[in-house]
């Protein structure tokens, strides 16, 4: 029931646009950067942005309830980064029915389920997480030699994002590197550090760690250094947080996969503005990933959180 939600704003004046952003939890650096990027873009374009977030990465129904509450309020555009591929569909159905644009951020909504629920996604903005994982795999293969053992330290078991990244990595290194074991550290730095320390004890021949999160990568790197194996064991993590970049510059981790959540946030707002003004926009915008190594780390750090200057990302919605 949101009959009043589709009131079109007067043409041209983007100042009256109200955008709602439904995110995953903000205590995570990655999603925090997404919110920042969106907010910066909204401020720049003079639109109002309301950010709500799930309480944790498994808060499927809580996130849906928040979307439902926002739906009642009637925003001009909804940006959603769902915790699962279907959890927001019930709430999005009436929004879509009213013709309000919906931008899907980061985790893709299941297309067939969306179709059967009658939800029309205006556009998708995000990185394919498997692509990011593959980039990690390639970077790892550059550093190690054939047959070397690597361990995977995942996020929360069952988290779709984490799983997709691990899958991408596994696919990429398949046949070249040996994955000795996969453990879960719940996106927690301390747990990742402790798990890495244990793995190094159990398997001193290990040559690399891959993890889908930047915070965890830092923890693993610490474990490696404390085991006296700095430089001998490669730690590669996705995200490319500021601290990760600093660590690369300082000669810690050899590489990271930067995913530009900040950029995703900004682009999703651009998509909203474009859709609201009636422009036809692409149905999917894949934000790029950048493999950061010691060579380009300083440049990436200087430009943070935006992409480095030589990495041109035009507004795909202009």
């Amino acid at each position: 029931g949101c009959s009043s939600s589709s009131t079109p704003s007067s043409t041209g004046s983007s100042g009256s646009i109200k955008i709602a952003l439904v995110l995953k939890p903000l205590d995570n650096t990655y999603f925090g950067a997404m919110a920042q990027g969106a907010q910066a873009e909204a401020t720049k374009d003079g639109v109002s942005l309301t950010v709500v977030a799930a309480d944790n990465v498994t808060d499927d129904s809580g996130q849906a309830a928040k979307l439902n509450a926002l739906a009642t309020e009637g925003y001009d555009c909804y940006i959603v980064n769902p915790t699962s591929q279907t959890n927001l569909l019930t709430g999005l159905a009436p929004i879509s029915a009213a013709g309000t644009p919906i931008v899907n951020l980061d985790l893709p909504i299941d297309t067939s389920a969306a179709k059967s629920a009658g939800v029309n996604i205006t556009t998708y903005v995000g990185t394919n997480n498997e692509t990011a994982g593959q980039a990690g795999g390639k970077a790892m293969m550059n550093l190690l030699s054939k047959g070397d053992g690597v361990a995977l330290i995942g996020g929360l078991v069952g988290d779709p994002g984490s799983n997709a990244r691990l899958k991408g990595f596994t696919d990429a290194v398949n046949g070249t590197l040996t994955i000795t074991q996969t453990v879960a550290a719940d996106f927690d730095k301390a747990k990742a550090k402790s798990a890495a320390a244990t793995i190094l004890l159990a398997n001193p021949n290990i040559k690399g760690f891959f993890t889908p999160s930047g915070d965890m990568a830092l923890g693993i790197q610490q474990a490696v250094e404390e085991a006296g194996k700095k430089g001998q064991v490669a730690v590669i993590g996705i995200d490319g947080t500021q601290d990760q970049l600093k660590d690369i510059v300082a000669g810690g981790e050899p590489a990271a996969i930067e995913q530009f959540p900040y950029l995703m946030g900004a682009q999703s707002v651009q998509a909203c503005i474009a859709a609201h003004s009636g422009k036809t926009i692409p149905t999917s915008v894949e934000t790029p990933v950048l493999t950061v190594t010691k060579d380009n780390a300083q440049a990436a750090l200087d430009a943070f959180p935006a992409p480095p200057s030589d990495f041109v990302v035009p507004n795909p919605f202009q």
Binding site: L26, A64, A69, Q85, L89, L156
Partner: protein, 331 residues
Amino acid sequence: MSTQTSPVDTTNPITASTRTLRRRLANEDLWTRATAPVALVVLTVTFTIVNPKFLTWPSLTSMLADSTIPIVLALGATFAVTLAGIDLSLASTVALGSVTMGLAYQAGLPLWLCCLVAMATGLSVGALNGVIIGWVRIPDFIVTLGSMSLVMGLSLIFSQGKPVQIPERALTFVSITSVGGIRFNFLIALAIGVLLHIVLFHTRFGTHLLAVGDNPDAARAMGLKVARVKLAGYVICGLMGGVGAVLLTSYIGSSQPATNTDYLLKAIAAVVLGGVSLFGGRATIIGPILGAILLTFLQSGLTLVGVSAFYSPLVIGIVVIAAAMLMRGRK
């Protein structure tokens, strides 16, 4: 002898109805029980002042629909708490139920059977808890802490961490369709509430549950089968976890292999705000229902009035404490 008037007559000169009123007002139970409804009214008024849209029919019905799963889980938790126990495995039971439901669906079973599978899963977890708590006599806290982890592990292993989409109209139907604006899933939760109210207050089992929760030694001395009553209580709790799994799957359209521990804390908060004693032996059904609605209204209301995501946990914490304090302050 039985007709002799007691020399110790406590009748006062004030009228009977005044006395009843005074007794009711002085009754500490009443205040405990009033917590959830009063807080609900205060909250509704506050939110409506900030944003009048809060008190519109579409908004209310949408929030009530969102409170369905919390209500069902709070009702389940009520049975464990009434036994002076707790079921920490409740949230992971929801996950496992949705996983087995997804597996059943993948195996091509008809939808109604998939729902039964989810409920049977919840029931089995409850039975496991109940048997160990009742017969082996390990504290409920440690048993359900163990089974929480165990059940979480099972749902990961069964699902390999991947959700199963269940794109069936008939399933999402209950979460979307409404009768006069009130969604089906909320009506289902209410129906379950009525049923459990009857079980708790109008059957022998209900009385025995309260007695065992109050004082298991006294209950045993009176001939109650304490272990069996505990088993039944935990089975109901687990079953509600299974029902929650079905409702969740219907709500989000897929299974959910990862456990959301928020469900657990919210369910128990609803039970306590609803005036059920954590020391067992005293319970209501309406209380936990109102408690669950209160917590949902709070969460949705904050979203509706535009409180930033950074501030909402803070506000929720303050409101929970304030709600509890408000009522105790009256004593």
